[in-house]
């Protein structure tokens, strides 16, 4: 694959990673630590919103983030034609 295309691919990948990591930080270090007190006043079901983020929401969103990234990367790999073929020599790996 040519150099220019790989550069574009890498740039798109990086911006996706950065976007996901911003959400990652917002729902954990943000919602449950930095904004813990302001969000304490808002209720979700029977618990304060910050408590929900701290003990449930952050984990659920982490799972969604990874799956979102996987699916997005599948599309990107296809678009730039960098998907790999199944490893040809699964056993014959030399260390």
């Amino acid at each position: 694959m040519n150099e220019e295309r790989l550069k574009v691919y890498w740039k798109k990948n990086i911006s996706m990673i950065v976007g996901c990591l911003i959400i990652w930080a917002l729902v954990s270090l943000g919602a449950a630590v930095i904004f813990a007190n302001p969000l304490y006043g808002i209720k979700l079901g029977g618990v304060p919103l910050s408590f929900w983020f701290a003990q449930q929401g952050s984990i659920i969103i982490f799972v969604c983030l990874i799956w979102f990234y996987c699916i997005k990367m599948d599309k990107l790999d296809k678009e730039f034609d960098v998907q790999e073929v199944e490893a040809t020599d699964k056993k014959g790996v030399q260390g």
């Binding site: 618990v47 952050s58 990367m73």
Partner: protein
């Protein structure tokens, strides 16, 4: 049938299953031994990673630790799951594309240096060793509590089982037994959780019971009237800066733990590496979102049953008697009024002492479940301990036999010799782990802070920069690792000096308000800054290394990249 009979039956069946799976997965060549021949599917690798990750402490102790910390228990919940996002986005796909056997392999090749490889290998051995000590102890404790077997005998039984499938099957044997172990541990965790959730909230899904009923609020109010901290209020047990630092250290530490990283070498493609991180976190999240619910339910139930009740009445409850005899629950009528007075554990008037482990272990009985379920929890605890121990053994033995022995001292070693050394190292590791299980160091909890702190401060930053910054040089990486490692090590020793060195008071109380568990974050920042700056002051890496970094970025051709 009694709990003991059921426990014996379940332990025999599950151990038999592990041995059978281990035997079926036996291997003859190093690729099978170290990376399971790179033939593990994403789902299977996800389940294996989850079992590898969730230790005896996660299974037995975590819900209890969270229930003591209340809101602030989130440091463990977010810290031990958030690291997988870092793994999936920043490390796993690229390390899989790079396609070698171990973490020191990447560091040694990327930084074209034997020293970097040796430092990384030593970190790997140290981190894995500190971690494994607690696992064998966990096996011994489960055996002694449920079967009244001596702790030493329990540890030895655990050692024999792990040694069997780890030596004959290597990574492949460990992987497939871990898949079986995950299935058992998650069922064992979920069944009592569903039962107690139904009992206390009327909702069978513990996560929903916690969020959409007022149980957490009720616990919080109950604790407040008894003079304890409000359960759902932030920062009542840890300061905000500590919650931040501990969470981030545990996240980064998780992503830097060698026994977790090497799991991503076992899948066939880069795409599978990404997806297996997704499966792994999904499987982990099932337990990690249940744990805080169990913590709230069990704590509410305990306080509600015990606080301000007549002592004579309380002592008639069968589980109070049983866990009192096991030393996990202590009731003492200090003021002699015949009433159980319960308040803050630090208050001298408090008459109830609850061990963290009791929260999970007692749940089935408190919820009045059948003896079969109680026995299932025992089997689940054993599965959690054995799976983590076996994953750590492989990480440790591969660092010694592959990185130190083969790549540094004996590059001419034959395939047979390398297999022999690999297997021998597993046995040596099992023996050391067993020794620690029988003679646990007095500071097991502090040791875990070491493992995460060191992984965060040494391994994670140099792997990250190695992938994303082609300008990072060996001088930068070695200096960064050394400073991160030394700073974190010295800080933890000084802050924990009462337990580790035996001084009267800690040599250092905290660093800018950050305690020992969170200090890895500071070490990581030092490492990142030093590595980055020094790399720009030293000559750039050789062209072939820059090419290597370039190649790692495209998933295409992982097959060819394996050979070297």
């Amino acid at each position: 049938m009694s709990v003991e009979t059921w426990t014996i039956i379940l332990v025999i069946i599950t151990f038999g299953l592990y041995l059978y799976v281990g035997w079926r997965s036996r291997v003859r060549e190093t690729a099978g031994f170290y990376v399971a021949g790179r033939g593990v599917s994403a789902v299977a690798n996800g389940a294996a990673t989850a079992a590898d990750w969730m230790s005896a402490a996660s299974f037995i102790g975590m819900a209890g630790s969270i229930s003591v910390l209340g809101y602030d228990g989130a440091v463990y919940l977010m810290g031990w799951t958030g690291g997988y996002v870092l793994l999936a986005l920043l490390l796993a796909p690229y390390l899989r594309k790079f396609g070698r056997y171990t973490v020191p392999d990447f560091i040694g090749d990327r930084y074209y240096s034997k020293y970097a490889r040796a430092v990384a290998a030593i970190c790997t051995i140290f981190v894995s060793m500190t971690y494994i000590a607690g696992q064998m102890r966990g096996v011994g404790i489960v055996f002694s509590r449920y079967l009244q077997v001596d702790i030493i005998a329990g540890v030895i039984i655990g050692m024999v089982i792990v040694a069997f499938f780890a030596t004959i099957g290597g990574m492949k044997g460990v992987t497939y037994t871990q898949v079986a172990q995950y299935s058992i541990l998650i069922v064992a965790y979920a069944v009592p959780a569903i039962a107690i959730s139904l009992k206390l909230t009327g909702n069978p899904v513990p996560q929903l019971g916690l969020t959409f009923t007022d149980i957490a609020q009720r616990l919080s109010d109950l604790q407040l009237t008894l003079g304890m901290n409000e359960y759902i209020k932030p920062f009542t047990n840890l300061s905000p800066i500590n919650v931040f630092a501990i969470t981030l250290s545990l996240m980064v530490g998780t992503a830097g733990l060698p026994h977790v990283i090497i799991r991503f070498y076992t899948v066939p493609t880069v795409r599978d590496a990404r997806y297996s991180a997704g499966w792994a976190l999904l499987f982990i999240a099932l337990l990690y979102t249940t744990a805080p619910a169990i913590g709230v339910f069990a704590r509410y139930n305990l306080i509600d049953t015990l606080a301000n009740k007549p002592l004579a009445e309380v002592q008639k409850i069968s589980w109070v008697d049983k866990w009192g005899a096991a030393g996990l629950l202590k009731l003492e009528d200090k003021n002699g009024d015949g009433i159980v007075n319960m308040t803050k554990p630090t208050d001298p008037a408090n008459e109830v002492t609850i061990d963290n482990d009791m929260i999970v272990l007692s749940t089935p009985e408190v919820a009045k479940l059948a003896p079969f379920i109680v026995a299932l929890v025992a089997a689940g605890g054993l599965a959690a301990a054995l799976s983590t121990a076996s994953g750590l053994l492989i990480a440790m033995s591969s660092a010694v036999s592959h990185d130190l022995y083969y790549r540094i001292f004996r590059p001419d070693a034959s395939e047979q010799q390398r297999m022999k050394v690999g297997r021998a190292m597993v046995l040596v590791g099992v023996c050391i782990a067993g020794w620690f299980g029988v003679h646990p160091p007095g500071f097991v909890a502090e040791v875990v802070a070491f493992a995460f702190g060191l992984a965060a401060a040494s391994i994670f930053p140099v792997v990250l920069l190695g992938i994303f910054d082609s300008r990072t040089t060996k001088e930068g990486a070695i200096l960064g690792m050394a400073v991160g490692l030394a700073f974190t090590f010295i800080m933890i020793v000084c802050m924990q000096s009462v337990r580790v060195l035996g001084t009267e008071a800690p040599i250092i109380q905290n660093f800018l308000g950050i305690n020992a568990q969170g200090i890895g974050m500071v070490g990581m920042i030092f490492n990142l800054v030093i590595t980055y700056v020094v790399s720009r002051l030293t000559p750039p890496p050789p062209a072939e290394i820059q090419q290597l970094v370039h190649d790692v970025r495209s998933p295409y051709g992982a097959g060819e990249a394996q050979a070297h």
